[in-house]
Symmetry: C2
Subunit: 226 residues, 2 copies
């Protein structure tokens, strides 16, 4: 009998994206259950009662939450594509960079989009520094994972696809080819990977989505997919 | 030839503690290099140029940083004691609770110690809720790891030993036997585990240490071991 795998998420969320691409890389058959985050389903609240957030992976009725934990679980629970390296040191480095993206890159970039004045200046400085470090980490490699995408690439999916959309809506140009040629080339390559392409929402739809929520995000600074 | 393992840390830090206990559980021979965080060593800055924080594990000249990543590395790179469970789902759960402790339990408790008035009331509410969830997770088990300590116990080392000291210095009584009997019993058991006992600084020394820095912590809210 086939295993039952369900993913509760939204196509617009870079966190949901991580889990979805991981499943596609492993060629796991799964059902994508779209969550309306304004009216969270009973299933979401039952399977993730503590954080009440997407993504939630449900595998044989057991739930796994938090996007990077889901990706590690998918790597370990299913055969096939190697999302994380087999060497313990390389694996520790992958975890380090994924955590760096979540702690340093994403928050500073996000806040640069939705602040102004001195505050924006501060966040922009932090975001530039973090992106510069990420750029130097990628130099000489096709993907963060080497010749093919891996854990850090999935973690950085928001940088590859969402950052361009967010800065277009916010009217800034932080991640650009002149300052970050390696990251921009990588972003193009990442979005062309089959498993990634299949997971991404149409760019125009996402631009419209964020544009329609712009005032609300600017006021609360809270991610719309949270 | 014996492997070279060095741990850069301070005995007063609960993050350094996680790495040290992991190495002791694995019975790894290592050199503990005490860092003076007011004057960080060139070695620390060289081995952790991005975060410049302890703990840093140096194994055969390669450095691994960020306490939970260090613990996972120690689990994977050395034979012996199983710090993480072998089942992928159980391992995902261990990662979930370790991350819950870092994101929900520690920040709310820390801020409850070093704020007052309405702000303190808010953080105390959050800390109580997080401790209640942690308490219910532990019910029926000797340790978070089951019959012996594991990843989540190490992550919660700060709850077991430091929380009592911090609340004594701050003059609050948040983690107490009446409200959290299971956590308090576990804290005693955890501190009696040989590998833990060997890693802990004398309680009185730590009380004096935090007391001497109390005004500074209250003003900045920043961890003294950061």
């Amino acid at each position: 009998m086939a295993e039952t795998v369900k993913l509760l998420g939204t196509k617009g969320s870079p966190y949901s994206h991580r889990a979805e691409v991981a499943l596609r890389l492993k060629e796991v058959n799964f059902e994508f259950l779209h969550e309306d985050l304004a009216h969270k389903s009973d299933m979401l609240l039952r399977y993730n009662p503590i954080h009440k957030k997407i993504p939630v992976l449900v595998h044989e009725e057991k739930s796994i939450v938090e996007s990077l934990i889901v990706v590690e679980y998918v790597h370990e629970a299913f055969n096939g594509y190697a999302i994380l390296p087999s060497d313990p040191y390389e694996r520790a480095m992958a975890r380090f960079w994924a955590s760096y993206i979540d702690e340093k890159v994403i928050p500073a970039f996000w806040m640069s989009c939705w602040t102004d004045g001195e505050m924006q200046k501060g966040f922009t400085g932090q975001a530039k520094e973090a992106l510069t470090i990420l750029e130097s980490q990628l130099k000489g490699k096709k993907f963060f994972g080497g010749d093919s995408i891996g854990f850090v690439d999935l973690a950085a999916g928001m940088v590859a696809f969402w950052f361009g959309i967010l800065q277009e809506v916010a009217g800034i140009s932080l991640l650009n080819e002149e300052d970050y040629p390696v990251l921009c080339r990588w972003a193009d390559d990442y979005c062309c990977v089959e498993a990634v392409k299949e997971s991404l929402l149409d760019r125009k739809l996402l631009v419209a989505h964020f544009a329609s929520k712009k005032e609300k995000i600017f006021a609360t600074k809270a991610p719309v997919y949270d």
